[in-house]
């Protein structure tokens, strides 16, 4: 229940929010980060890449954080749409996309997310 402060103090610059450690997220799994405007899903792949996207499937709003993670994609638990974690685009025949956020990992395993950056495609 932390009230976090941005790690950067430059006005207008990207604000990086430290959200936890890489080890907090299971491999081939995801965790939610709750925001006032709704949750985002933070994924960790088999090979330890971390991606953050809105936790909201473009199809019927399913919580993508609850899906099965395979390679660089997640399959939505509600109706099996497959979302590319890097671009936020629906894969295969489905059309739609989810907002993505920039994520960075530092050498100590801390994971930060930038809420101002990212694709903002849905806005």
């Amino acid at each position: 229940m932390n009230e976090l402060s941005p790690t950067s103090t430059e006005p207008k610059a990207q604000h990086w929010f430290t959200i936890g450690r890489l080890s907090d997220i299971p491999r081939r799994g995801a965790r939610q980060v709750l925001l006032p405007r709704g949750p985002i899903a933070v994924f960790r792949t088999q090979t330890d890449e971390v991606y953050a996207i809105d936790d909201n499937c473009p199809h019927k709003g399913g919580p993508l954080s609850q899906g099965i993670v395979h390679d660089g994609a997640v399959t939505c638990p509600l109706h099996n749409w497959v979302i590319d974690l890097q671009t936020g685009d629906a894969m295969g025949a489905d059309q739609g996309c989810v907002r993505t956020y920039e994520v960075r990992k530092d050498a100590d395993g801390l994971v930060s997310v930038s809420l101002s950056g990212g694709s903002g495609k849905t806005e």
Binding site: G20, L34, P36, Q46, H70
Partner: protein, 817 residues
């Protein structure tokens, strides 16, 4: 003669050794050189410690510079004398023996130290690291008397230490925190092959093992893991990583982060002080492999001659130095949208190769089993060469580079006539080709019938098909086998058969041995493989939780708004005032919005947020209720009527039998959900004739039904048989379910399985063949020993706690924009 400048070197490892060598070659008289060497030895090849440990080499074999070399070049080597401080004002270094040496240029090469995990017992006698010759000597002394060793850390060093100690006759267990060995250098497929090879040398491997404490009074006696397991140990070797030694530099006021910060000229924040080796941090990276250290050393040597060479970082590669294990990795082999991978698996020869390509350039390499092209791939990667022209044949290595794509039948065409194709039935190539031409065979089934090739375990099916294609040309149309998913050409049945035939006991094992095309499967094959492995290897296979659908992962049913529904078990549909009161209390306490009676005779609590699930379960557990598995591809409910307890038409105790069946079957995993019912008479109030398995009680005993459905398809059951006693009814029901567990394809309901194999085949195995039935029943009961743990209670006790809490909350105004 000009006055020579003074160079002081702190440290006498491989990096400063190489730097001095280079400097002396070019400018032998430029400096008067003094070396502080904390170890009482000359410069030796640390990379070769493993062969010394295993006995393949001796200390003398791994010397780089002997005493004579230092004398010949007029170097002053202060052996066993640690540098204790640097005075940058006076430009002096003080040694542990009190000596003070002036410098014009100083080179810091203090190396790194092994990282010691801060756990109880870390200071006991017999806790060793693996860093220098002293460590090796301590290990050799311990190994003389045999005994057990625990190596903490399944990385490069840890595995080499484990292999060496095994060679020396110790009983060795490797503990590794992560699920796969060497996870920083290898992907899971190669990690699996490595684990198998390591275990084949008699080394025990425990992955995902977190060391809790080292046990013992004065000497090490054992190790306790977080899960409570205790392992006996006469020595414990910590090989979990290294930390740059920056203390001396930090005390002297130089800039030190993780390591001593240097620029591209290898210069520290003081222009007269350079640093080299594992103690430095260059552009944010600290290196622990020899190749980059040598590259840095060359730059240092040049700069000491006022040259202008620069070091811009290294691309590193890894090779494991354990005899008989070929492993090479380099670069970045993570997946990504803009990346492609080329994977080659050869299960027979234990070969796995994976190349990662981005914008026509090779950026990552993992080779296992066949590493002869490692150097060539690595060169392509370092040069950033375009591989566009040779993409098709790249994975086959340098010999094929630029050649035309391989004809898929070329391999079988090249086989000699007496080459054995089918190992199970001993069928050679000429016999298959002969049968095809002589009898005009055109389908796989015909070839199987005529020659028996691929008719047993099926693993040579691909080869047989290639032989048919080679013999018949365009006249061969392979059977339309529905592959399991896009990751493989094998069908569900083939995969299941091979899992058993080849004793594959993990998902990476299946993917490697059955030559999966993707590195980590997809949302279709992973849950299926997880089920097959759970069903085929009870007690041995470790459930892969990330390969389960969300409902089975969190033991509740996800709803359209992302909340969950909770259904406690009500055995045979029976409940009590106490249970109902507890449910009512839970509903009030957690503000659960909907309460619904289900079709399976129990109560569904809908709209529970994920975070509340463990607390809801805790309260239900406290009232004696457990998970109803309403979310599982497993036994759901056993619906009953009141039978002879109350009903004036009841012929048997249908409620009692229902409860007994449910107590026997709960927790079992099946290809798809299983719903059951027991009706007390043919009026069938429990609707047993549209269930997966139904029992209808009659005066003379029990009629057993299978293969009903009342979902998208409506289908009445078929009668399998009648039995006389309750015990028989239980045994037959369990035997059918076990047969379904062994033969059903994942997500295939019982009625579909029955349509496919036929009711007669089921009857033959369950009803007519008593031995088979008994075996099925016993197998079912055996696997239930591992399956019947209340998943709710486990999670109330803290299992998978991360599932039920958000990672973080951000409440800032910025976040709300």
């Amino acid at each position: 003669m000009t006055i020579r400048k003074k160079l002081v070197v702190i440290g006498n490892g491989m990096a400063p050794g190489r730097a001095l060598e280079r400097l002396l070659e070019k400018a032998p008289d430029a400096y008067e050189i003094t070396i502080f060497n904390a170890e009482p030895r000359v410069n030796y090849d640390r990379i070769m410690l493993s062969p010394v440990l295993s006995g393949e080499k001796s200390y003398e074999d791994i010397l780089i510079h002997d005493d004579a070399w230092y004398a010949e070049h007029g170097l002053t080597l202060k052996k066993g004398c640690k540098a204790t401080s640097i005075d940058r004002e006076k430009k002096q270094v003080t040694g542990a023996d009190g000596s003070v040496v002036d410098y014009d240029k100083l080179l810091i090469a203090t190396g790194s130290s092994p990282f010691i995990i801060p756990i109880p017992g870390k200071d006991l006698d017999g806790v060793l690291t693996y860093r220098d010759l002293d460590d090796v000597e301590a290990m050799l002394a311990a190994a003389k008397s045999g005994g057990s060793a625990v190596v903490i850390g399944g990385g490069l060093l840890g595995l080499e230490a484990a292999a060496g100690l095994t060679e020396r006759g110790m009983d060795v267990t490797v503990l590794h925190l992560m699920p796969t060995l060497m996870e920083r250098q290898l992907d899971t497929a190669a990690g699996y092959l490595l684990e198998r090879a390591i275990e084949a040398r008699g080394i025990k491997v425990r992955t995902a093992a977190n060391t809790h404490e080292i046990l013992g009074e004065e000497r090490v006696e054992g190790v306790r893991l977080d899960d409570g397991t205790e392992l006996p140990a006469d020595i414990v070797v910590m090989a979990v990583g290294i930390r740059p030694n920056g203390d001396l530099a930090r005390d002297a006021g130089l800039e030190v982060n993780r390591g001593i910060v240097v620029d591209d000229a290898m210069q520290t924040s003081d222009p007269d002080i350079l640093a080299v080796g594992e103690c430095v941090e260059h552009r944010g990276t600290a290196y622990g492999l020899v190749a980059p250290l040598y590259e840095m050393a060359a730059v240092v040597a040049d700069r000491l001659q006022d040259g202008s060479a620069t070091y811009t970082g290294s691309v590193t590669s890894t090779r494991l130095k354990v005899t008989g294990i070929d492993l090479f990795s380099a670069g970045d082999f993570a997946e990504g949208k803009d990346r492609e991978e080329i994977v080659l698996r050869d299960a027979t020869n234990g070969v796995y190769k994976r190349l990662v390509i981005q914008e026509d350039k090779l950026i990552g390499i993992v080779l296992y089993g066949d590493t002869k092209d490692g150097a060539w791939f690595f060169q392509l990667m370092r040069e950033g060469a375009s591989i566009e022209e040779m993409r098709e044949t790249l994975i086959f290595g340098q010999n094929y580079a630029g050649g035309s794509p391989l004809d898929p039948t070329a391999a079988v065409a090249a086989l000699p006539d007496d080459a054995e194709i089918c190992g199970c039935n001993g069928v050679c190539k000429s016999k298959i080709v002969g049968a095809i031409t002589e009898h005009g065979l055109t389908s796989l089934d015909e070839v199987r019938a005529r020659t028996k090739a691929s008719a047993s375990c099926g693993s040579c099916t691909g080869l047989v098909e290639q032989l048919m294609a080679f013999t018949l040309g365009d006249g061969f149309v392979p059977d339309a086998v529905q592959p399991m998913c896009g990751c493989t050409d094998l069908s569900h049945d083939d995969v299941r058969r091979l899992i058993v035939a080849k004793e594959l006991k993990s998902i990476p094992a299946v993917m490697q041995e059955l030559e999966w095309r993707t590195s980590c499967g997809c949302a279709k094959c992973r849950p299926a493989l997880n089920f097959y492995l759970v069903a085929d290897w009870p007690g041995e296979y470790e459930d892969d939780y990330q390969s389960r659908y969300i409902n089975e992962r969190v033991h509740a049913n996800i709803q359209k708004d992302g909340t969950y529904s909770v259904v406690p078990r009500m055995w045979g549909g029976m409940t009590s005032s106490q249970e109902l009161r507890a449910i009512a209390d839970v509903v009030d306490k957690f503000g659960i919005p909907s309460v619904k009676v289900t079709g399976g005779q129990r109560i569904d609590l809908l709209g529970v947020p994920k975070e509340n699930l463990p607390a809801v379960w805790a309260d239900l557990n406290a009232a004696g209720m457990v998970s109803g598995h309403a979310y599982a591809k497993g036994l759901r409910t056993v619906k009953t009527c009141v039978g002879t307890d109350w009903c004036r038409f009841g012929t048997q105790d249908s409620t009692g039998l229902g409860v007994k069946i449910e107590k026997m079957m709960w927790g079992s995993w099946t290809p798809h959900k299983v719903k059951m019912a027991v009706s007390g008479c043919p009026r069938n109030c429990a609707e047993a004739t549209c269930k997966d398995i139904g029992v209808i009680c009659v005066d003379s005993g029990y009629e057993l039904h299978v293969g009903g459905a009342a979902g998208m398809h409506i289908k009445g059951t078929e009668v399998m048989c009648s039995v006389e006693t309750e015990a028989e009814a239980l045994e037959y029901c369990a035997a059918v379910v076990q047969l379904y567990r062994e033969q059903g394809r994942y997500l295939e309901r019982i009625y579909k399985w029955m349509d496919r194999v036929g009711l007669d085949a089921i009857r033959e195995q369950v009803v007519e063949d008593e031995a088979k039935r008994t075996a099925l029943f016993e197998k079912f009961l055996y696997s239930q020993r591992f399956a019947q743990k209340d998943p709710w209670a486990e999670r109330v006790a803290g299992k998978d706690a991360h599932e039920f809490a958000p990672m973080n909350r951000i409440a800032m105004r910025e976040a709300a924009e």
